[in-house]
């Protein structure tokens, strides 16, 4: 079967980027938006066709095959290290294709309305095209170097889009922060790649995941602090993934990234780029699972679980609707990491499937939440929940779709989040009770903070609005409706047949006890939110006052940002960079100047000539050279 047409899936967004970028100043109004949207539309169509062909229309016995649809040599370093660019199709890359193209398409469509009045929308759509291209290149990569390359490119697109409102200092700061924090993580990622490939002898995923072959070809691997070099490589790679996926303690850039336009947050900082870390771990899952009995995987589980709880706690206290959603994203990605972390392979691979399933459903409902929030922000011209209230009266479509998304993320059946989250909890329950307990509590917190913003925005007291809020136009409501349908129904997809750790069907059974427990805690969260926020009251205020320091600590995000600020300002800049700059100017250069000045002084004493004449110095050098020559001549004979 011919798959080479799949090259057009990433190329079309690239084309949109190039055209919008080159004719940036000369583009007729609205053209850039429609150009980008149609490019992504075709890509989306091709992705769905690919998925259909791959899952239903390819005769296969046993597991799904891995297909290299297209490849070319990018750099032939050595025969061992050849860097290819290619397109690699397997169940997870096809799933990601669907997610990335579809969400990107909807976001493009939505942005036509959302950005209609913006001066720089050509630039905006150019960056959006660049991002879509890079993200697709990332998910389709057949080797770690291509992954890394597009990994950096999505980072840059994210930087450019967060800094879209570049004359706003807070947006600039956020953009720099996002780039630098992820870049910091990527430094370790690259070292991890180099370290790992030194032993695996290849960058290809199929070689990297083949741990027995690596062990065989290396004899014995060096062990450092009880862990083999491969595990160290994987841990370093995971740092890269944790940076991109905003896992604790590298999460600080994500909430600030909300400075970007809201559709960007939906696409990049909710549905696609931030799950790249999860995708990376899933890509290398066999290696993570096999190396040192899955030690690295345990780290993944711990980091994921902690991050999900940590973020959920913070999300309860934030007043900016987008920041709540940002912490919620971090928390949900934590779930995905947990799912992978507790998973085995083959028949024990429930966590893997659940994690990928959650990635899929989360993309739908979180994109919907962000786009819905965008509609609210568009209507009331503020991000703050304090400026919203009773919006259900004015914005029925936004209201219903937002509600569906809230129900989905809170894990209420039959909406999508229920199925995927419950599977993760089930997998955790079998592996580790503590992780399960944390996940279960987090589920309750999730329901609470989601319905907190739901009730605050759509119920509560009517605010005084400068303009009467209303539902946005069709290009904005259509994506909301499509995503709402997906959030409602995606849970029924038979993911266990499609996306599994060994590409074979995974037999799952519905666990009624676990499901009941998840639903129960979700409902508790919703009810508490209902009591506190359905009608305007002073209770939440009083409660936070009573909690005092604890509340302040949480509201200030546990002061992690301040900690980083301190380290970079006080230690790196003041204690390292400044002394180096001083040392260079005063000691190193000072020595050079001293030598120069002394020479001048001595020569002036000797010759009695007070001159800064260039010729005199050149003459001196000539004399010195001749002297050296004479000396050398003797030395040699």
């Amino acid at each position: 079967m011919n798959w080479s047409y799949t090259i057009w899936i990433p190329l079309l967004p690239l084309l949109s980027f190039v055209i919008n970028g080159l004719f940036y100043g000369r583009m007729p109004k609205k053209m850039s938006g429609w150009l980008g949207t149609s490019a992504l539309g075709i890509s989306t169509l091709l992705s769905w066709v690919t998925a259909w062909k791959y899952f239903f229309n390819t005769p296969h016995q046993g597991p799904y095959e891995d297909i290299t649809a297209w490849h070319t040599t990018w750099m032939h370093l050595t025969d061992r290290f050849t860097i290819d660019l290619g397109i690699y199709l397997d169940p997870i890359s096809i799933m990601m294709l669907i997610v990335v193209t579809t969400v990107s398409f909807l976001v493009h469509l939505y942005s036509i309305g959302y950005m209609a009045t913006e001066e720089g929308r050509n630039r905006y759509f150019a960056w959006l095209g660049l991002f879509s291209f890079s993200m697709l290149g990332l998910v389709l990569a057949p080797n770690l170097i291509q992954t890394y390359m597009f990994w950096e490119l999505v980072g840059v697109s994210s930087f450019l889009l967060i800094g879209y409102y570049y004359d706003k200092p807070s947006a600039v700061k956020a953009a720099l922060k996002a780039f630098i924090v992820t870049r910091f993580a990527d430094g370790f990622f690259l070292i991890g790649i180099l370290l790992y490939s030194y032993y695996s002898g290849s960058f290809l995923f199929e070689d990297i995941n083949n741990i027995p072959a690596i062990l065989e070809s290396n004899g014995s691997l060096p062990v450092f602090m009880g862990l083999s070099a491969l595990t160290w490589g994987l841990l370093l790679i995971f740092i890269g993934g944790a940076g991109k996926s905003a896992m604790f303690p590298l999460h600080i850039w994500l909430p600030d990234a909300m400075e970007g336009p809201t559709p960007v947050s939906a696409l990049i900082h909710a549905a696609t780029m931030v799950v790249a870390g999860v995708y990376l771990v899933a890509r290398l899952f066999p290696a993570f699972h096999a190396s040192d009995h899955g030690f690295a995987l345990q780290i993944v589980a711990i980091v994921g679980t902690f991050s999900s709880l940590f973020a959920a706690i913070i999300a309860m206290t934030q007043m900016d609707i987008k920041r709540v959603l940002a912490f919620s994203t971090m928390s949900q990605i934590g779930y995905m990491m947990t799912g992978l972390g507790v998973s085995g392979i083959g028949e024990e691979g429930l966590g893997y499937t659940a994690s990928m399933f959650h990635l899929f459903t989360h993309a739908a409902f979180k994109a919907l939440l962000f786009l819905g929030a965008g509609a609210l922000i568009h209507a009331v011209h503020s991000n703050s929940l304090k400026d919203m209230g009773s919006l259900r009266k004015y914005m029925p479509i936004s209201h219903i779709t937002f509600l569906i998304a809230c129900l989905a993320i809170s894990g209420i059946p039959p909406f999508a989040g229920f199925f995927s989250k419950d599977l993760i909890l089930e997998a955790a329950f079998e592996k580790n009770k503590l992780i399960y307990a944390v996940g279960w509590i987090t589920a309750g917190l999730t329901a609470f903070y989601m319905f907190r913003i739901y009730f605050m925005a759509f119920w509560g007291e009517d605010k005084v609005y400068a303009h009467k809020p209303h539902d946005p136009g069709i290009t904005m409501t259509l994506p909301l409706i499509v995503l709402a349908i997906a959030s409602a129904l995606a849970g029924w997809l038979p993911f266990n047949e499609w996306v599994t750790s060994n590409h074979e069907t995974l037999h799952t059974h519905f666990n009624i006890g676990s499901a009941a427990a998840s639903v129960a805690i979700g409902l508790v969260g919703i009810i508490i939110a209902y009591i506190l926020y359905k009608n305007p009251s002073m209770t939440p205020q009083k409660m936070s006052n009573r909690l005092g320091v604890v509340y302040q600590t949480v509201k200030n995000k546990f002061y992690v940002d301040e900690f980083y600020e301190g380290v970079t300002q006080q230690v790196i800049l003041k204690r390292i960079a400044t002394p180096i700059a001083w040392f260079d100017r005063h000691i190193v250069d000072g020595t050079m100047n001293l030598i120069g000045n002394t020479t001048v002084r001595i020569s002036s004493i000797i010759k009695g000539i007070q001159s800064g004449d260039f010729q005199v110095y050149a003459f001196g050098i000539l004399i010195a050279v001749i002297g050296l020559l004479v000396w050398l001549n003797y030395f040699i004979q």
């Binding site: 990018w74 032939h76 370093l77 200092p169 953009a175 430094g187 020595t591």
Partner: protein, 496 residues
Amino acid sequence: MDRLTILIIIPVLTVLALIFSTKRKSYRVIAAIGMSIQTLYSIYLLLEYLSIRQAGNTSEMVFTRSIIWFKPWNIRYEIGVDGIAVAMILLTSIVTVSGVFVSWRIKDLPKEFFVSLLVLATGVFGFFISLDLFTMFLFYELAVIPMYLLIGIWGSGPREYAAMKLTLMLMGASALLLVGILGLYMHSPLIEGQHTFSIQAIAHSPMALSDQLFFFPFVFIGFGVLGALFPFHTWSPDGHASAPTAVSMLHAGVLMKMGGYGVFRVALYLMPEAAHEMSWFFLILAGGSIMYGAFGALRQTDLKYINAYSSVSHLALVLFALLMMDAVSWTGSVLQMISHGLITALFFALIGMIYERTHTRDVTKMGGLMKVIPFIAMMYVMVGMASLGLPGMSGFAAELTIFVGAFQHSGVLERVFTVIAVLSIVVTAVYILRVVGKMLMGPIKTESFYHMDKARWYEKTAAILLLACILGIGIFPNWLYKLIRESVEPMIKLIQ
């Protein structure tokens, strides 16, 4: 006329045309035409070279020619190129032609300016085609001397100080170099009773280890000064800060590459055993200054100082890779020289354009330039991305090659410095983005910044030409990699 001498003839003819020309407006046109022809000729040379290789010519150097011009010492005008030299020649011509375009509106003494610039370029071209150590050295001096005039006359700020400092340090380096070269000469094999300066001849019968150990530091440091080796790099920030735009471009883009090239072609190739013995010491110097330069750049506020320190960091990476003494690292090192040459030339070109409009190079005094000069600002963002190693730009291809090559050495020292080198890309990102954030983004700080000239055609020509090369190499690095690699391979074989 043989193929390579034309590379010298073209700039010399251009210089003559300039000297005899009397119209003020025609100087820049003559220079631009001359250098455009040179660039086209360099491309032709590359194609010619490729076709010769295609035809199965495997000799180390091609287009060779040797004419004796100083009989008593057997000094020859011996020329020839391999893939590395061809690549460096192409880089030189591209940077020079962009430099001419950037200097389109030079006010003072335009004739003398372009003459000096082209003499400098002639020296560089001659340096890259020379296979005779003494001739090479002469061309090197030919390139350094106009530098003094260019900075001293057309420079800004404390230009006399900077010019003097730069020239003296480079002259001091020349002295060391001359010692090394004469040492190589006196220990060279006897051909018909005479010693030789020929690189190829010396490489095939290197001198004894004890002599190598004596002369290696002379040559390495001599060229290292030019390549901004710590602690002999301090001429570079002052020199760049005072130099006019085109001179900074040529200096950082090409002249400093002569340092790396010399280390590679003379120090390591001709004294490989000493290089193996002493590499640990220079590895510490070079590996350390990768981070040192990056942190140095972090605290600067003058755009040119930032880029000068950035060059210290990036060129230290070149020396670091050279000291690894394997084919992949060496290829990466040459790639890095070319990539850095293009990137840094574009950087200085853009800085010149910005300075012309804002009359300051202090990043803290600027802001929001994206709004008023979008073309220049966007170019700056792109070249910044190239400098911090964004995939798709030449810097990434070069750095990745170096990292992969260096990581194949499992010695502790090599490992530690490789890790440091990789982590330096984080610091690079910080100092680049700091400038982007402060200078290009944010609100406009000064009233006068609201009215600025948009980029002119000659500025766009120079910037687009350089950026196209950066992108071209970044997206399709393999042909260049192959070109260099095939020439590195026999060298590595010979010295191992």
